[in-house]
């Protein structure tokens, strides 16, 4: 059986608002989209004007977040991950490749792009939501996998 999770509208909306603040801060100060896959591609394959050091600084902030969370709130981070390692490897490849090939992920298209009313981002978000939901439907309800 899949792990059940509690519906958390308040914490989720507040967390979303923080993500929005980060996106607005980045645009205000450095004029950049807060898209994680874009930031990662600037970092691991630097090109003219990609500013890899700024991308690295942003990623560093992301990596520091759990430590700050644990120290500030005194509670651990709740996570339930797959224990299927080949699946994790395949999913990682697909996520990294697809996000960059399609010009963005949940943050670049789903948050920043939709906030600019970009038609491309609306289409991309609809497509990845649809395929993700389809995959979950197939793995959970057709194949009947536990996670």
């Amino acid at each position: 059986m899949p792990v059940q999770t509690e519906f958390t509208p308040l914490a989720s909306a507040a967390g979303g608002a923080l993500i929005g603040c980060a996106a607005v801060l980045l645009m205000l100060m450095s004029g950049r989209i807060a898209g994680i896959s874009g930031i990662l591609s600037r970092l691991i394959w630097p090109s003219e004007g990609s500013r890899p050091f700024e991308a690295f600084a942003f990623v560093l902030g992301l990596l520091l977040a759990p430590a700050v969370w644990i120290v500030a709130l005194g509670q651990s981070v709740t996570q339930v991950m797959t224990d299927n390692m080949p699946l994790a490897a395949i999913a990682g490849l697909l996520v990294g490749f697809g996000a960059v090939y399609g010009g963005g992920c949940t943050s670049g298209h789903g948050v920043c792009g939709i906030s600019r009313w970009s038609k491309r981002s609306l289409v991309a978000t609809a497509v990845f939501m649809a395929t993700a939901m389809l995959v979950v439907f197939v793995t959970r309800h057709v194949l009947g996998a536990g996670s």
């Binding site: 519906f7 509208p9 914490a11 989720s12 909306a13 507040a14 967390g15 993500i19 929005g20 603040c21 980060a22 996106a23 607005v24 801060l25 980045l26 100060m29 004029g31 989209i33 994680i36 896959s37 990662l40 394959w45 050091f53 600084a57 902030g61 992301l62 520091l64 759990p66 430590a67 981070v77 996570q79 991950m81 390692m85 699946l87 994790a88 490897a89 990682g92 490849l93 697909l94 996520v95 990294g96 490749f97 697809g98 960059v100 090939y101 399609g102 010009g103 992920c105 948050v111 939709i114 906030s115 600019r116 970009s118 491309r120 289409v123 991309a124 990845f128 993700a132 995959v135 959970r140």
Partner: protein, 135 residues
């Protein structure tokens, strides 16, 4: 200065992911599982994020340029092409398989669960392959 701004933005972004529940793959998969025990929380993450960003961007774009740079760098492409659709579709498949997208994956890396230690390097290989293909 601009490096510090980036660290702070990354930290805020990561903290938002943790608070929202987006960094818990079980919650993401339950959101995607509309036919099961649907957890609608992630719609609130997206709603909160888009609301703040849409309003904030409008205010920011009234400025001629960002505070610490010469110009805003916003994507200018308008066309819905096969790269966009194919990439998004592939990304969605990977996201649906384990419930991790790039932001939550990076935030989860320091927590060093076995799956994330496998997922993140694979993701970076995927990123590099796509950048190489798109050159």
């Amino acid at each position: 200065m601009i490096l510090l701004v980036n660290v702070i933005a990354g930290l805020l972004f990561g903290f938002g992911l943790l608070l929202s529940g987006m960094a818990n793959p079980a919650k993401v998969l339950n959101f995607l599982d509309v036919a099961g025990h649907w957890d609608a929380s992630l719609a609130f993450v997206m709603g909160g994020a888009v609301l703040v960003t849409a309003i904030g961007y409008r205010l920011v774009f009234r400025r001629p340029k960002p505070v610490l740079d010469e110009s805003f760098r916003v994507p200018t492409a308008r066309q819905i092409d096969s790269q966009l659709v194919l990439g998004a579709a592939v990304f969605g498949v990977g996201w649906g398989l384990v419930g991790l997208c790039p932001g939550p994956a990076l935030v989860s890396l320091p927590l060093a669960s076995p799956a994330i230690v496998v997922f993140v390097p694979a993701m970076l290989i995927g990123v590099a392959a796509a950048v190489w293909l798109k050159r």
